[in-house]
Symmetry: C2
Subunit: 120 residues, 2 copies
């Protein structure tokens, strides 16, 4: 299987920061989102909550320029290496994974890179 | 929300290589898999295809010792930093994301680190 398998409607999409190597977010792509990403060079996703195509950063300006796309062994997940403008997370953090397990619970870690009140 | 949200049955789980920083695989965890991971220090997942708890590497020996667990902003994905024994992928590759998009299609990249015929 040499293409993403969109039989289930969408595939998982993991975005990694080209600069730091950190995982920024996990989202989903349908066939159209994948095509638009390839055509434009900017990450597009399928919003499961809003049931629509979503250009990452369209509202916030925090776009993701895609440098590389990888596909996993069973074709249901893609990995995007991106140049992230600002922060990936709607909370203002660079990465959506900004809570770390301390053995009992998850605690906030890291500074915000933008103020979500000013952006959304 | 300070814990993974298992209301949908499971959360996404992205495993990252503690050594190289590379994304190794994407899988899923239900509440039991999460608890077993925390208790044992080794990654456990929920196999959606087999509908059962799955200790990564139980058959192959390619276990994942978990160094850190992170949670994303909406609580439906966790990020595991792991010490990966051997390779994460059942194809013998270190990472499941071993195919790279060349603009038209995905092509194999990288060597196998083990022979799946000898392991499974």
């Amino acid at each position: 299987m040499e293409t993403p398998n969109f039989d289930g409607g969408f595939v998982h999409a993991v975005a990694v920061d080209a600069e730091s190597g950190d995982v920024l977010m996990l989202a989903h792509m349908d066939g159209e989102a994948f095509e638009r990403t390839v055509e434009t060079g900017y990450a597009h996703y399928w919003s499961r909550s809003r049931q629509q195509l979503w250009k990452k950063g369209k509202t916030s300006g925090n776009v993701q320029r895609v440098r590389e796309i990888r596909l996993d062994c069973d074709g249901d997940a893609v990995l995007l290496e991106v140049e992230q403008e600002g922060g990936a997370c709607h909370t203002g953090h660079r990465s959506c994974f900004h809570r770390v397990f301390d053995g009992e619970r998850f605690v906030e870690k890291g500074e915000r890179v933008f103020d979500p009140g000013e952006v959304y």
